[in-house]
Symmetry: C2
Subunit: 335 residues, 2 copies
Amino acid sequence: MADERRSRSVTRADVARYAGVSTAVVSYVLNDGPKRVAPLTKERVLDAVRVLGYRPNAAARALSMGSADMFGLLVHDNRSPFFAELCHALDQASADRGRSLLIVNSDRTQVATSEQIRDLVSRQIGGLIIADVLTAGEQGLVESLRIPSVVIGQFGETEGLHGVGVDFCAGARVAVEHLIGHGYHDIAFVGSAARYDERERGWSEALAAARLPLGQLLHTPFSYQGGYEAGMRLVQGGRMPRAVLAASDQIAIGMLTAFGERGVRVPDDVAIVSFDGTVSADYVWPRLTTAMQPLQRMADAAVQALIEPTEGPSYQEFSAQLRLRESCGCPPAGS
Amino acid sequence: MADERRSRSVTRADVARYAGVSTAVVSYVLNDGPKRVAPLTKERVLDAVRVLGYRPNAAARALSMGSADMFGLLVHDNRSPFFAELCHALDQASADRGRSLLIVNSDRTQVATSEQIRDLVSRQIGGLIIADVLTAGEQGLVESLRIPSVVIGQFGETEGLHGVGVDFCAGARVAVEHLIGHGYHDIAFVGSAARYDERERGWSEALAAARLPLGQLLHTPFSYQGGYEAGMRLVQGGRMPRAVLAASDQIAIGMLTAFGERGVRVPDDVAIVSFDGTVSADYVWPRLTTAMQPLQRMADAAVQALIEPTEGPSYQEFSAQLRLRESCGCPPAGS
DNA sequence: CTGAAAGCGCTTACAG
DNA sequence: CTGAAAGCGCTTACAG
């Protein structure tokens, strides 16, 4: 088998010759259309493909079709746990549909994101997955490119673009209600300054519904360091809340580090619930109670949206599910 | 600007027409060769490119050249912290050289890794980056494909393939020597069962050199869960070592979770040093002392190896650097 | 149901 | 220094 591809690689012409048909027929068989092929001819072609170890040249196909079987994935930083898991789920979902993923981190300061988008498009991607916050200009660019695209894992609906996300508000509300159920009344929120982060609203709504006063509100970057600093601010401020809703597992883990360093005990001194449901939330001590995002289902929906684009922009919302562990004060369960 | 690409996209022919030259000249200018172009003509072409907002079609180029400006990255699971960081570094390194990264996770049980490799090759990748353990068959396949390839971040040299890695043995030795310096004599090793993991050898060599008895040896998977289980085995075995060298940050973090759950204090009851130097090692409590792998330099070297392949297979080894933090018993420093 | 042929947008030897 | 043209390996109207 390896012998055939040793020299020049096998092309459609070789297959056609071997099967005694034209290259068009080979295409019809391989693409299952657009023309029908007689069953016996089809068998001959398939045999030839097998014997010669033929693989279509994706570049030739992309040139001819005007689109490659690849998706571009724009992500701010694939290292943060949530986005790492999202990338994995998207790779899985794409591969399930025969597409490959071209991954691009947008946190490279040397290159403008719009340049990265244009580069992706010049590679003839069949769709763009945006797991990142876009500026208005970048968003306009994407729209003008008229390429199937979808925003995933961001704060909510992005006007003018397809989107897949979770109901942050409801997820946060359930999380805060759970904390209230534990008997905590002084509940803080630690999240980003983005005014469209619905988790903040869910937090305040839950408190209002329970006729509790609004707790402290801390804005900090979505990173371990952001969480660490918020934790330190809480400790040093002297006014420690009884519980905290963290907008991401990563923030919560950073807070845990700060609390550990300062001897603040979780959940005894302060309880924590976070958001995302990444694996890393399950491997800290205490384990984090967290609102899980159904990543694989979201990824599947995003890929589906690229493959079968609907007319206008749509937004698909999933709901987060609270996973109870020790950080909120719940008793240890089987992990 | 957006107007031009609204209908049919701009091609080389449009640029040539606008600049009043042949398409060949446009190519010569854009590719800086293989022929020289008069400075003034060059300016005209560049102007046309600018005005028309022209972007070369990468698929056409790939078809013509027989190779796309893309690398395939085969990784077992991009979610684990070390490999997530490696992916990021490789994306950076590839983009610096004008290449994109096609990422493929090999942990999909439905698809054979060899199929994934063939798929990558059919997409005309210009090189294959392997951040994964290959079976003999898969390795043979890669060699027979005669495509530039490099193995990165694995246990050591892979016969027959280019490689980039770190000196695990020396790194582990330094780590264990540090633990010995703290006065610990009963030092365990927790790592994989792979008999070619040199970290295990470094551990035993350091102990032997200090005339200390070999500590406990625990084999466990490279995952949070693997670390957790090893930690539990240690706690339940009743024979707790005074210190542990963990083969990865991820294993160490899993152990920390187990120790936290069972009330074992780190570093007071047991000290820990781990390997990798991922960001996550800096956001646990206590922070992990860890042997850092110079990921960005390794990634750059790997990409370089693909772009300018040397004759026979080569192996480039970097050295890990011990980063001192609290888990080994060192005093807190500025993070 | 099948084939001959044009076309996708590049690159590059070849001839001026 | 520049141009006309063949070729890369596919897809798919078009004609039988």
